[in-house]
């Protein structure tokens, strides 16, 4: 029997950095990072395809590493540095990956795209010249049903050209 008391839920407050801004967020303690981002912070750029850790759609960066935001509890993010697709563009416009994803057709329906962009961003930051095998391996956690992946690989490779060409500004 569910007593009314048992369903009373109290929010908790945590502080973490999201796309460069330090935020104090209050949310229900059972919520995942995905839910906190989408529901409590209205950052709906992060999508979900399963909420079971199987599709990679919800990938964001946590302290620079890709994580499945549907598997990370909001509680575990205290002090963390979170980056979502909303934070990818810099002051001088879209990130090179965003530009090449657009020009090479790597986003068809675009639903998987945020997950790919962030996973690829983490990758190109430590390796701006990945070969195809590395790319396949590193992006294998994110599923896409539209593209067949080839235009995604190509877009990452093209972006790397720009990233290498610009020198290590980031």
């Amino acid at each position: 029997m569910t007593t009314p008391q048992a369903t009373v839920r109290r929010k908790v407050q945590r502080t973490f950095t999201v796309n460069g801004d330090v935020e104090e967020v209050s949310f229900l303690p059972h919520k995942t990072l995905l839910e906190v981002l989408r529901e409590d912070m209205h950052l709906t750029g992060t999508k979900h395809g399963c909420e079971l850790g199987e599709c990679g759609t919800c990938t964001v960066l946590m302290n620079g590493e890709p994580v499945l935001s549907c598997l990370v509890l909001g509680l575990a993010c205290e002090g963390a540095d979170i980056e979502t697709v909303e934070g990818m563009a810099g002051p001088d416009g879209p990130h090179p990956l965003q530009k090449t994803f657009a020009s090479i057709g790597a986003a068809q329906c675009g639903y998987c795209t945020p997950g790919f962009l962030l996973t690829a961003k983490a990758l190109v930051e430590w390796n701006s010249n990945p070969d195809r095998e590395t790319l396949k391996e590193e992006l294998s956690g994110v599923l896409c049903r539209c593209t067949g992946y080839l235009q995604i690989f190509q877009a990452v490779e093209e972006a790397c050209v720009e990233i290498r060409g610009e020198g290590e500004t980031k």
């Binding site: 697709v85 057709g105 294998s140 049903r145 992946y149």
Partner: protein, 733 residues
């Protein structure tokens, strides 16, 4: 030319708002209570006394103001089951609550008690009397296509080759699950969500609510993938959300979670196709008898038209004067099967293309050579009597495909390799096929699609259609067609997002019809606009067009310069729905696909090592988008062939999770090399034809033919998972 997607940057910055990204003030969350058994009579619905139900909104069939049906081709599918259920997970009751966790608690706390009846799961079995649930024989649709006199040819034939081929179901796995939001706006019920066909939903709502169209407004949100899965099914979700919203007097959002979506929504029709073919000693096909059976699931939905496309593609692109194709779609107590990219053609093309290799093997002929001897030439007729006249040279197409794939060298190398390697086997396979573009037969004529083209005061042009962009780039393509026709920058063309209160009914976004059929209407509409603006020196284009447009508005302030264009059946195109004779499609796209595979006899895994997709799709409008369509379609086809196995339990998908239903990941795919032949077609805008579904047709036969080549085997069923292959090879010894 490759214009970048018009909706590109929004999708890349997280700004595109999909239906679940929308927050509506005061919105309730809706959910569905479903049948726990595959067939039976509803006895009672038990509400747990442990739950306080006072703040739930509860809807059952008695709350439906109009007819309790999800109106489509027939009226047999109820929106909410009232007395009987015909499949597991059939919707019975709807709940809504302002708190998601309370909704979930509510969904767990209702039990539907059903007096079970024996379910029918085997579509191939002859139904006993108590299994009859549709008409006198459970057959949803029966189609016969006849040409010549096959019986007399078979009677005399010295060689008759037979084969039976089966294909499994396939789940769409669009990354964004089904979802709708409904709310009341004055007298109007507004429904927005993830959908391919806003006007299907509008029609279904008017019938379920028994209200005129004007009382509804259906708005399309950006789609996170469709592939046919958001053709007819969204009508169910839309009716449910609208019923809840009306009863609640508040907005209601229904979003399926992945497991619900995979378990309950439509999938590709499973098929069984039998071939009997009479050939002479040179491998010339003399007569064909093809018997097709599709599992339609529990309600009619779109099965008749899926079957229709299946039968019309069943003979493959081969010349034959004596043909009988017989097709049936029949009932089982599975959730209804439905539209899926390819729409019945991938199933029958798998059968004929596999069968061609079986015939070649029987005759000791090279499979490429057998095809060359039988491929359609210009002026030949299809089974329906339709004349092939698009100017394509299929023999040359196949030859080019074989050359691109390096077939002759590979064949020699693989023979040596396979003799010497302890556990790896390599092979190459091919498939030649076609795909009819647009609706079948008189479908386009009945549909009478309408588009509007508006010339705006600022010199821009606005396109109004019901066409949805599910990722294939509809908006971009339509803007590009208008831009090219008027010689203006496509970025100055505004494409309105479908909203039934704003756009005319230009038909559903299915059947590879958007670019070709709707694009053609846009092209015509733009031309008409040019004629209107012609001040005597000829139809203006480019800068002149924009100037003329601005001038027109200065001279006629406030004028709505709108051109309407409706589909007209092209002269000379005839189709007889009863005899299935005539021009089944306005035109066809053609293709030769070739696959190289490597089979590991230790793990029974099949790896596609190279894939060549060569197609003739008329003029390619946008190379980047076209390439993306082909690669994505091939990837889905590869999944259907080797990875994706829908396991049924009580008729419904048991492995309804991405963990155990495997779609291709980035590591599963080889290079997919895409090539085009371009023969401008008179049917489409700027010479374009349909493209979206074609790539799904090739992978299954090309890959399985390659596996059979590698193993000298004759596999006749997909999916060919490692488990199936292991069993197959084990059984051979």
């Amino acid at each position: 030319m490759s214009l970048d997607r018009v909706d590109g940057l929004d999708k890349l910055s997280g700004k595109s708002a999909f239906v679940d990204d929308l927050t509506v003030p005061g919105c309730l969350f809706g959910g569905t209570i479903r049948s726990p058994v595959a067939r039976g009579r509803i006895r009672k619905i038990h509400f747990s006394t442990a739950v306080d139900w006072s703040d739930f909104v509860i809807v059952d069939h008695r709350d439906i103001p109009g007819s309790n049906e999800v109106a489509l081709i027939e009226s047999d599918q109820p929106a909410l089951a009232s007395t009987n259920v015909r499949h597991l997970h059939e919707p019975v009751l709807l709940l809504a609550h302002s708190k998601l966790h309370r909704l979930r608690e509510g969904l767990r706390s209702i039990r539907v008690e059903i007096e079970a009846a024996p379910p029918l799961f085997d579509v191939e079995a002859q139904p006993t009397k108590e299994m009859l649930q549709h008409g006198s024989d459970n057959v949803f649709k029966r189609i016969d296509i006849r040409k010549g006199d096959p019986a007399s040819v078979f009677a005399k034939a010295s060689r008759v080759i037979e084969g039976t081929y089966r294909t499994g179901s396939q789940e769409h796995v669009y990354l964004e699950t089904q979802g709708m939001i409904a709310h009341q706006e004055g007298e109007t019920l507004v429904v927005r969500g993830s959908m391919q066909c806003p006007y299907y939903i509008l029609d279904a709502l008017t019938i379920a609510f028994d209200r005129p169209k004007e009382r509804f407004r259906v708005i399309q949100c950006p789609l996170g993938g469709g592939f046919g899965g958001k053709e007819e099914y969204p009508s169910v979700v839309a009716i449910h959300a609208a019923l809840l919203a009306e009863k609640a007097g508040r907005p209601v959002k229904i979003i399926y979670d992945r497991q619900e979506d995979m378990a309950v929504t439509t999938k590709r029709h499973p098929s069984r196709v039998r071939h009997r073919t009479a050939v002479d000693d040179d491998g010339i096909i003399l007569a064909m008898e093809i018997d097709i059976l599709f599992d339609g699931g529990a309600y009619v939905t779109l099965s008749p038209v899926v079957l229709s496309r299946g039968t019309l593609h069943a003979t493959g692109p081969y010349r034959c004067d004596h043909v009988h194709v017989h097709g049936e779609a029949k009932l089982t107590n599975s959730p209804p099967y439905g539209a899926f990219r390819g729409f019945g053609a991938p199933q029958t093309l798998f059968a004929i293309e596999r069968h061609m290799d079986v015939i070649a093997r029987d005759l000791g002929l090279d499979p490429g050579e057998l095809r060359r001897r039988n491929l359609l030439c210009q002026g030949d007729t299809l089974a329906t009597g339709q004349k092939v006249q698009d100017g394509v040279d299929l023999t040359a197409l196949l030859a080019r495909g074989e050359e691109l794939a390096g077939v002759s060298l590979a064949t020699q190398e693989y023979a040596a390799f396979n003799r010497s390697h302890p556990y790896l086997r390599r092979g190459v396979g091919r498939a030649t096929f076609y795909h009819g573009a647009g609706f079948t037969g008189s479908g386009e004529t009945h549909l009478a699609s309408e588009v509007w083209v508006e010339g705006l005061a600022d010199g821009r042009v606005r396109l109004l259609t019901a066409q949805t962009d599910m990722g294939q780039g509809t908006m971009t393509i339509l803007a590009q067609i208008a831009g090219e026709t008027l010689s203006v920058d496509p970025r100055s063309i505004e494409v309105v997002t479908p909203d039934t209160s704003l756009v005319p009914n230009s038909g559903p976004t299915v059947a590879s019809r958007t670019a070709m059929v709707v694009g053609k209407l846009i092209e015509d509409g733009c031309r008409e606009l040019q004629r209107i603006l012609d001040s005597g020196s000829g139809p203006p284009s480019g800068k002149d067009f924009q100037n003329a447009l601005e001038l027109h508005h200065r001279e006629n302030p406030g004028d709505l310069l709108r051109v309407s264009r409706s589909y007209q059946t092209p002269p000379g195109q005839n189709w007889d729905e009863v005899s299935y004779q005539g021009d089944a499609y306005a035109c066809y796209s053609w293709a030769a696909h070739l696959a190289h595979v490597e089979v590991d006899l230790r793990t029974f895994q099949v790896r596609v090592t190279d894939y060549v997709a060569l197609q003739e799709v008329g003029r390619v409008l946008n190379e980047v988008l076209a390439r993306g369509q082909i690669q994505g379609g091939v990837a889905q086809g590869l999944g259907w062939t080797l990875l994706e196995e829908v396991i049924l339990e009580n008729g419904a998908m048991k492995n309804h999770q991405m963990m155990n239903y495997i779609i291709p990941g980035s590591g599963d795919l080889s290079p997919i090399r895409v090539f085009f032949e371009e023969i401008p077609s008179p049917s489409g805008p700027g010479g374009a034809k349909g493209i979206g579904e074609l790539p799904l047709d090739g992978p299954a036969p090309a890959i399985i033919n390659a596996v059979c080549h590698a193993l000298s085997a004759s596999i006749r069923e997909i999916p060919l998972t490692p488990e199936v292959l292991m069993e197959f090879l084990g059984g051979k010894e």
